[in-house]
């Protein structure tokens, strides 16, 4: 393990190039695929004014804003992030409350997830994922001396997360709920919360999910659609069946960029939640493999940087880095699993790739924070000071 870490440490660069490039490739490939996936629907819709490049232009703007924000975020030392973390978290909670207020939040397809801000919509739950990482890491570091104390270490965080979770379920945004709970639990687990507690918690949560799913017809519908999309292929299983068809059509090397049929009004949400299906159809198994591999590299880099922090006794950056790894790993896994029919359908985008301003912005800042952590590590190892 140490040898691997040493290896990366000896890289002559100022930043982790592997992390940087896999992030950039995902962002750029995402933009190309968003354009390809949206071109037909954009041209065919009066809502977009029949402009084929409607989503491309917006995605490009989001990327630009995201990269500018990332450059700014890179300048911010982790100590500052740690100081701001509780306030950012509170601001996030406030936004989640605001989005639920009728008249302020914007309703799309029965979900109130967006805050209209002039020409763009803000999706607080996307930003909340970043804030949850920053805050959970800060919380865990502060509580670390008491990690074996259930009352002190776990319950306050559990209370905060239950509150946030309820706000998210109110929207509803089940996907963000799962991701944020995973982040909080994961960081607590990394921080040393008792393993037995986790075993209990996992059981409790499974039961809770089961109840949620049984109680809510909206979620139950999605569950059954995922179990067998072909029994009700034109009803509940419609979206998934088309996603699976897209995978099947792609074969090894795809039907070619731009040649997807599924994106031609068959597959709903092709440029957002089901972008991977379009990638699978147009670029084939090879394209899917590339995307999965890039996310695996990202996750591996997050944890590698995190562990490097640990060796440098930088606990907060370590937990932030690993927290981002959990976030990107869990969200990309859920999104791709949904696309392939491994998991029940929920509204989660593919990080760094899917269309959506708030998501791209949050993802870019998260990568910048990671690069910053790595950069600070490198400075320290050269004997420099922060």
């Amino acid at each position: 393990m140490r040898a691997i870490l040493d290896n990366t440490r000896r890289a002559p660069t100022e930043v982790d190039m592997l992390l940087l490039w896999s992030g950039l490739v995902l962002l750029l490939l995402g933009m190309v695929m968003v354009y390809s996936a949206s071109i037909a629907t954009a041209e065919g819709s009066r809502f977009t004014g029949h402009q084929p490049a409607y989503f491309l232009v917006r995605h490009g703007v989001f990327l630009t804003v995201g990269i500018v924000a990332a450059v700014v975020a890179f300048q911010v030392p982790l100590t500052a992030w740690q100081q701001w973390a509780p306030y950012l978290f509170m601001a996030g909670v406030l936004l989640l409350v605001v989005v639920l207020i009728p008249g302020l939040g914007r309703d799309v397809n029965g979900a109130r997830r967006w805050l209209p801000l002039g020409p763009v919509n803000l999706q607080p739950s996307e930003l909340m994922k970043l804030f949850a990482v920053l805050y959970a890491a800060d919380y865990t570091v502060r509580k670390m001396p008491h990690m074996r104390d259930l009352k002190k270490a776990f319950l306050p965080m559990a209370a905060a997360m239950i509150f946030v979770g309820m706000l998210l379920l109110k929207e509803p945004d089940f996907g963000a709920f799962v991701v944020i709970i995973s982040i909080a639990m994961g960081i607590l687990f990394l921080g040393g919360l008792r393993a037995r507690l986790f075993a209990v918690l996992i059981v409790v949560m499974l039961v809770a999910f089961a109840i949620l799913i049984i109680v809510s017809p909206y979620r139950r519908e999605r569950i059954f659609g995922f179990m067998d999309p072909w029994t009700d292929a034109f009803g509940r299983g419609y979206q998934l069946s088309h996603a699976l068809i897209a995978f099947g059509r792609g074969e090894l090397f795809g039907v070619g960029l731009g040649a997807s049929v599924e994106k031609l009004f068959y597959l709903p949400e092709a440029h957002t939640d089901f972008l991977l299906a379009v990638i699978a159809e147009e670029l084939g198994f090879a394209g899917v493999l590339l995307v999965v591999a890039l996310f695996a590299v990202l996750v591996q880099r997050c944890f590698a940087i995190g562990r490097q922090c640990v060796t440098l006794d930088r606990l907060y950056p370590a937990l932030v880095a690993m927290g981002v790894g959990i976030w990107l790993g869990v969200q990309s896994f859920i999104n791709m699993g949904v696309n392939m029919g491994l998991l029940p359908t929920k509204g989660l985008t593919l990080p760094l790739m899917s269309f959506g301003g708030s998501g791209i912005l949050a993802n870019c800042i998260a990568l910048a924070v990671l690069l910053r952590i790595d950069w600070e590590n490198r400075q320290l190892m050269r004997g420099g000071k922060l």
């Binding site: 040393g192 699976l244 606990l315 790894g325």
Partner: protein, 578 residues
């Protein structure tokens, strides 16, 4: 691994367990690997099943419409042609129109906006908004880029010569199947075989790409009619004029090529515009020359004379006493319009004496007279191929009463169509052969018919018919300058509700040039009511004009001096028998 216990130092105590992060990484990597496995299964192993599901959703076999064959006249002039048009259809659930879009669409579709909304307010997911609109209007609709509004290529049948050839050409329905006339008669040849192509369509019905092989459409065969456009025009316009001048109810003209049996012209009035068939009445639609029968009257007499000559019972100049212009058979009396006294057989025809003809017919056995009628095609359809062809009425001879046989000899108590009559006259135009009729152009070469009369008989009847158009005959107005014309007038009472009414059918059937007949022209005017009703006065001039023009069109050499028409002015037509 357990937390470290070997130190009290808070810094060292706050160590993160490496196994925990490793566990999470392993978990996440395992998840990623499962994704790769699942993806491989879907894309490489199980892709047949998924592709099949996909094809069932967006692969469609669509028809490629073949174009229908053209119909042309004998010179290649187009009488019916299929032009590409567009049909506009909609998936109503996809259609969302702003008020101004709705207005624009309705206008381009030539629909009331209310009507458009009514068509769109359906539960079905396919509805035709308008069929067969011109391509430019369709292009403008396409330019509106309205969701849920789609187009399809169709063909529309166009008839350049319109009402002039309406009855002979007929028309097709909206599904491009022939409904009338040649369009129906030659449906099998004209209709193409639609091809098919397999395509992938997007959810809105637009074709994305072709898959598999394309079966090209086989276009229908062109049909070249025997019809001569110029003669048809002449026949039609003359007919129209004649019907109007005589305030008649209707009329028909048939022009046959006496050498081949080809139908060179066939016109009816009233007619209709096949390009715009709104408000069509049955009267306009009827192809009277083929579907309507009438009692021909005196035009039947030459057949009686021919049979008399053929059987050797009379000679050209056998004398027949028609005085006192009346003849009583049983309880019925037949009469001539003017008593004539003693006439030769030729004069009986020339002056159209009913009494004379009836006396001649009295010498026949009913069977031999029936056989003659049957052999020239009366009582059975002429088998032109037209829909609704009638055979007319020729009652079985076994039940003929003498008075019936007598009236039949001059064309009453027997009903025929004008086409049957024209064809029967072809016997006198050839040297005694009845030719099969043909609607389509025949290859050059002699046509063999069925021998009915001997050339000798035909020669003599033709002379009698020529006399009828000369001074002392019933139809000097049927003369054609520069040609010898042979023909016979007919003025028949119409039967209404089983009794003869004071309404007439005036007709003239003739052939020219008499020395070597090239054409048979039959003219029938139904209910002339402008003071004149005799065939020679009403149908004769029309015959003359049509025959003159047709002979000139065909470049038929003259067989008479051009000034022969000088006699016409001096001649007063002799009234004929019934």
């Amino acid at each position: 691994m357990k937390p470290h216990k070997y130190t009290e130092s808070p810094v060292l105590h706050l160590k993160l367990d490496a196994w925990r992060s490793r566990a999470i990484v392993v978990l996440l990597m395992a998840a990623m690997v499962s994704l790769v496995g699942r993806s491989f299964y879907l894309q490489v192993i199980n892709n047949d099943f998924l592709q099949e599901k996909g094809e069932s959703r967006y692969r469609r076999d669509i028809e490629v419409s073949a174009s229908r064959g053209r119909i042309t006249d004998r010179n290649g002039e187009v009488l019916a042609i299929s032009t590409p048009m567009k049909s506009i259809w909609a998936i109503p659930s996809d259609v969302k129109l702003a008020p101004d879009q709705s207005r624009a669409l309705a206008q381009l579709l030539d629909l009331e906006q209310r009507e458009l909304n009514r068509k769109l307010a359906t539960d079905r997911n396919f509805v035709f908004l308008q069929r067969q609109i011109p391509p430019d209007a369709a292009d403008r609709i396409a330019a509106l880029k309205l969701p849920g509004i789609h187009q399809e290529k169709e063909y529309r049948r166009y008839y350049p010569s319109g009402e002039m050839t309406a009855h002979i050409v007929g028309f097709t329905g909206v599904d491009a199947k022939g409904l009338e006339g040649v369009e129906l008669a030659f449906q099998n040849q004209l209709e193409g075989k639609n091809g098919s192509r397999s395509v992938i369509k997007d959810r809105r019905g637009q074709i994305v790409e072709d898959v598999g092989s394309i079966k090209p459409p086989q276009d229908g065969r062109d049909i070249q009619l025997a019809l001569d456009g110029k003669i048809q025009y002449l026949a039609f316009s003359t007919l129209k004029q004649t019907v109007t001048d005589n305030a008649a109810k209707a009329g028909s003209v048939v022009v046959l090529d006496a050498k081949s049996g080809e139908v060179l012209a066939l016109a009816n009035w009233p007619t209709y515009n096949p390009n715009n068939r709104e408000r069509l009445s049955g009267a306009q639609l009827r192809n009277r020359a083929v579907t309507d029968t009438f009692e021909p009257g005196s035009t039947m007499k030459p057949f009686t004379a021919a049979l008399a000559l053929e059987k050797g019972k009379f000679r050209f100049d056998s004398l027949i006493n028609t005085a006192p212009g009346k003849l009583t058979i049983g309880t019925a009396t037949i009469s001539d319009a003017h008593p004539h006294g003693v006439l030769t057989l030729a004069q009986v025809i020339q002056k159209s004496s009913n009494v004379g003809t009836a006396k001649v017919a009295g010498t026949f056995a009913p069977k031999e007279m029936w056989e003659m009628f049957d052999s020239v095609g009366f009582g059975k359809p002429p088998r032109l191929g037209f829909p609704g062809e009638v055979g007319g009425r020729l009652r079985p001879y076994a039940h003929w009463r003498p008075i019936e046989q007598a009236t039949m000899s001059y064309g009453h108590g027997i009903a025929v169509s004008l086409v049957q009559m024209a064809r029967a006259y072809s016997v006198f135009a050839t040297d005694g052969e009845l030719l099969p009729l043909s609607l389509t152009k025949l290859p050059p070469g002699p046509v063999t018919g069925t021998r009915i009369f001997s050339p000798q008989t035909v020669q003599e009847v033709r002379t009698m018919l020529e006399m009828a158009t000369q001074p002392g005959g019933t139809a000097p107005k049927a003369q054609v300058p520069g040609y010898r014309v042979a023909g016979k007038t007919g003025t028949a009472y119409k039967i209404e509700n089983g009794v003869y009414a004071r309404k007439y059918v005036a007709s003239f059937i003739g052939l020219a040039p008499a020395s070597d007949p090239r054409l048979v022209v039959a003219v029938m005017i139904d209910e002339p009511s402008n003071g004149r009703h005799f065939g020679g006065d009403v149908a004769g001039p029309a015959f003359s004009r049509i025959m003159a023009g047709a002979l000139r069109t065909l470049g038929v050499p003259h067989d008479a001096p051009l000034n022969s028409n000088l006699q016409v002015a001096q001649v007063v037509a002799e009234p004929e028998g019934m």
